[in-house]
């Protein structure tokens, strides 16, 4: 499991970010004091840093440069300053990516996964998600159950991963569409229905029936 360090001074945002990351298969830690941030980041030695630029008493770009001098840990800058200059400046100071606030959670997760993949190779961002005997391998894009394995398309993988991460809760069709749009798959309602029915028949091929259930008027559910 990849360890992520959240450097954000707004306490609520920090907590919620940690919850979000933990729910999506990462181990999330956060800094709570902002004295000598760069040293703290180096000491924590995480796999990736989520860095806010507006920190009390210290400029994020400076932190970025300091960390980069002694470590190649990937840094994703998260900021509400969204002008081009800031973006170019932080990237030139060694940040790996730049996500403007207020971000969509799926967009943020997509950025994190991309940077992890780039830094640690394909499969680095993967988490195997298991639920009720069904295992999803996000790196290989495959699903398996009792020794039988089937390939999934990218969309099917995203849909199933979302449902399995939220196992036990109904996920609305809108929510699934949003997840797909966040990775540039601008599917409409009908395409989503087709994707889900393909996903079901793929699951049926490895003997998994009734795994994805339809809640009429609400969405889909993996129990």
């Amino acid at each position: 499991m990849r360890r992520l360090l959240v450097v954000e001074d707004d306490a609520r945002l920090r907590d919620e970010l940690c919850v979000l990351l933990a729910r999506n298969g990462y181990e999330a830690e956060a800094l709570t004091s902002f004295a000598d941030v760069a040293a703290q980041i180096l000491a924590a030695a995480p796999d990736l840093v989520l860095l806010d630029l507006n920190l009390p008493g210290v400029d994020g770009t400076y932190v970025c440069r300091e960390v980069r001098r002694r470590s190649s840990v990937p840094i994703v800058v998260v900021t509400s300053r969204d002008n081009d200059m800031d973006e170019l400046l932080t990237l030139s100071f060694g940040a790996d990516d730049f996500v403007p606030k207020p971000y969509n959670d799926q967009v943020l997760l997509a950025h994190v996964a991309t940077v992890l993949k780039r830094s640690y190779g394909e499969g680095a961002a993967s988490a195997e998600i298991s639920h009720a005997g069904v295992t999803l391998d996000t790196a290989r894009c495959s699903v398996s159950c009792q020794g039988r394995t089937a390939e999934l398309t990218k969309n099917e993988l995203r849909i199933l991963a979302l449902l399995m991460r939220n196992a036990g809760a109904v996920v609305s069709r809108q929510r699934i569409q949003e997840e797909l749009w966040a990775s540039d798959e601008f599917v409409d309602d009908n395409t989503l229905t087709v994707n889900v029915s393909h996903l079901r028949s793929t699951l049926a091929k490895i003997g998994v029936e009734d795994f994805v259930r339809t809640k009429r008027g609400m969405g889909y559910l993996v129990e």
Binding site: R12, E16, P102, Q174
Partner: protein, 342 residues
Amino acid sequence: MGLGAYIADRLVPLAVGVVALAFAALVMVVYGMDAAAVAFVCGVLVLAAAVALVLDWLHRRAFYQRLEDALDALDETYLATELTERPGFPEGQLFFDALDRESRAMRDRIAAARRRSREYREYVETWVHEIKTPIAAARLVARNNPSPATESMDAELDQIEGYVEQALYYSRGTSLDRDFQIRRVSLAEVVRDALRHKARTLIGAHVAPELGELDYTVRADPKWLAFVIGQVLVNAAKYRGEKDGEGRVRVWAERRETGLDAWETVLAIADDGVGIPAADVGRVFDKGFTGENGRRFARSTGMGLYLVRKLCEKMGVRAWLESEEGAGTMVFLAFPDSAERA
């Protein structure tokens, strides 16, 4: 100031001089002076007066001419006294000093107004950046605790974010400073960026995009352009109407020749929504114009398309739309080739 006007202005002293000269000549004739001698004296006096007048006129004209040239050369005419020398004759000096004082007062005012508007804009920018942190936090709270209540709160947050974004771009678009960077951007990327950004609004309104040929690069500020496209997409969602099924918004681009060797890339965004009444089409880009659709279908602020045109104008992009009531609206953005603008 022409010579005629100058002489006309001195008609009274000239008339007095002529009368005095005539009287002196008469006296000389009465005293029995030779006619030729009288004519000679009068001639010398008239010539001397004429030379003096012309010299004086040239001297004054030089000042007024310089002032007029300065006024013609300047866009900001209140700076004219800066470019003109103080004249050497008293009336001119009085006039020049008065003008100079007045324009100085004016320049101070303008500088103060500029400073105030810049400070206000900086405040808006800061405020917008500050508000984004609580919005981001609220959004994550909603996402981390999914329920019907938080989902509708999430939708409200989208609206808040939309208004905040408009405020930011309003202050940027109407500022006197030029704080955007035109560079080569890929249309496909910017369009996808805008779609991701407005995903929830579009999905919520059951509007899905159909992307056509977008493999072009154009010259624009990518952030501004994404905002502009976002405004158009939000309109497609807002004015979708009460149709069943999915709404469509088609986005594509094409190249076309606008003149001899002059080309432009046109981005088209077409929805199949309610369209705009013919009477309103011409005014939808006006600030604060809401029109019939604004009253009938959605809460409209009349800012979206106004900002579209404003920002496009600043970037040198032409924006216009065509609409058929009941069939849909097509918004076009035309990016001229850089060669044409160079």
